[in-house]
């Protein structure tokens, strides 16, 4: 017969409908015989109901828009067509990309060192960006990001003539740096396929590449 401690351990799963039928029956049998645990189950159900019925929207106490609007002019992603700022934009991006690679290398080294290495099959195909062990979870977003980057790269290539040689040089250098970071992260992930921090870094690096390509394409379009 289940004790109160045993039943208490499973009450949340029972309330959430997460218990298998056999275990649920055991817990219910205990509840039938124990008024205290039955009352506890009832209170937990009430709490769950109350939490689910909390308001879905809460307005901030003050208007946050002014603070947001002030930051929208920061030239990341959507580029302002102000030539005077372009060098600033690209300088900032170049610095950010260098930091990205340096940071990525350090973090990657740290993450790989700090976790036991899993025994995995190495991904030999370029399409196998993500190790098989976590493919189901990660493949879709990574493939989407790679596809988006590919499309943006093609769009940029078709407009290269519209960018100045100096700008093109900065763009190409930054893309090379980001691609190197992606290669390192993919290599690290092949060594340690369960490392979610590496996956997060890889996704963020793909997003940085997409941001850069979007910015460059937009610059080319408006030049």
């Amino acid at each position: 017969m289940m004790t109160c401690d045993d039943a208490g351990r499973w009450l949340d799963d029972l309330v959430d409908g997460d218990l298998g039928e056999a275990l649920a029956s055991e817990v219910r049998a205990h509840l039938d015989a124990c008024a205290a645990c039955r009352a506890e189950e009832c209170r937990r159900r009430e709490l769950v109901l109350e939490a689910a019925s909390l308001p879905r929207e809460i307005q901030p106490s003050g208007d946050l828009w002014a603070g947001i609007a002030a930051r929208l002019s920061e030239p990341v992603g959507i580029v302002e067509a102000r030539p005077v700022r372009r060098w600033t934009v690209w300088s900032g991006m170049a610095a950010a990309a260098v930091l990205l690679v340096a940071g990525t290398a350090l973090v990657t080294a740290h993450l790989v060192r700090s976790r036991p290495r899993a025994v995995t099959a190495r991904a030999s195909s370029p399409a196998a960006i993500v190790p098989a062990a976590i493919t189901s979870e990660l493949n879709a977003p990574q493939v989407d990001l790679e596809r988006a980057a590919g499309a943006l790269r093609a769009a940029l290539e078709s407009r290269r003539g519209q960018l100045s040689p100096a700008t093109l040089k900065v763009v190409d250098e930054n893309l090379a740096i980001i691609d190197a970071a992606i290669d390192r992260l993919q290599a690290a992930l092949r060594e340690d396929p369960g490392n979610r921090a590496l996956v997060t870094l890889l996704t963020a690096t793909w997003e940085r590449k997409i941001d850069l390509l979007q910015t460059a394409s937009e610059l080319a379009r408006t030049s």
Binding site: R9, D12, D13, D18, E40, R43, R44, L47, V48, E50, A51, A52, L54, P55, R56, E57, I58, Q59, P60, S61, G62, L64, W65, G67, I68, A69, R71, L72, E74, V76, G77, I78, E80, E137, A148, R196, A197, T200, E207, I210, D211, Q214
Partner: protein, 175 residues
């Protein structure tokens, strides 16, 4: 009489750089995003910072929104990822144990949410951060443990343990 632009039209205009359209999107969605940020952050100032950051990042990433989901869904996912990753980075900075020991006492938030009158809201704000995060995501937002575990980088069992602890603490506080 001029008709109001649809959300799709607002998104397209914002993607072209139209700030006023983005402001209209902000006004439509800020309540939902702020509610999530407020409950996850556990304090008004942190929640407002987080809400602002969500919209700034949404602006920067608008080019990646392709309309496959509703804009509100896309924005919500962005807010969720940002709020959880912020929480993780703060936890890392404080060397909190996130993965395997939910019983470890985490620091309580410095300032609860003063504008919330509901007892439950106040009690949620007073939960330890890990337990609060899982309670909000599971019981308020309706996410499953496997989703929460993936999002927060914790084991499913840890998520369950956090939820159990959160409900137990809330029961004690609300008794």
């Amino acid at each position: 009489m001029a008709t109001q632009p649809s959300e799709e039209q607002l998104v397209r205009a914002a993607q072209r750089g139209d700030v006023s359209s983005f402001e209209a999107l902000y006004r439509q969605h800020v309540g939902r995003i702020h509610a999530l940020c407020l409950r996850l952050a556990g304090g008004r100032a942190a929640a407002e910072d987080l809400t602002q950051e969500v919209f700034v990042r949404a602006w920067r990433k608008l080019g990646q929104f392709r309309g496959e989901a509703a804009f509100g869904t896309w924005l919500y996912r962005l807010a969720l990822n940002l709020a959880v990753s912020e929480r993780r980075s703060h936890a890392d900075a404080r060397h909190e144990v996130l993965t395997d020991d939910p019983v470890v006492l985490e620091p309580r938030p410095q300032s609860p949410v003063p504008e919330l009158g509901l007892d439950l809201e106040r009690a949620i704000a007073g939960l330890p951060a890990g337990a609060r995060q899982v309670f909000v995501l599971h019981d308020v937002e309706g996410h499953r443990h496997d989703e929460i575990a993936r999002l927060a980088g914790i084991a499913v069992g840890t998520s369950r343990a956090h939820l159990h602890r959160a409900r137990t603490l809330l029961r004690e506080v609300l008794r």
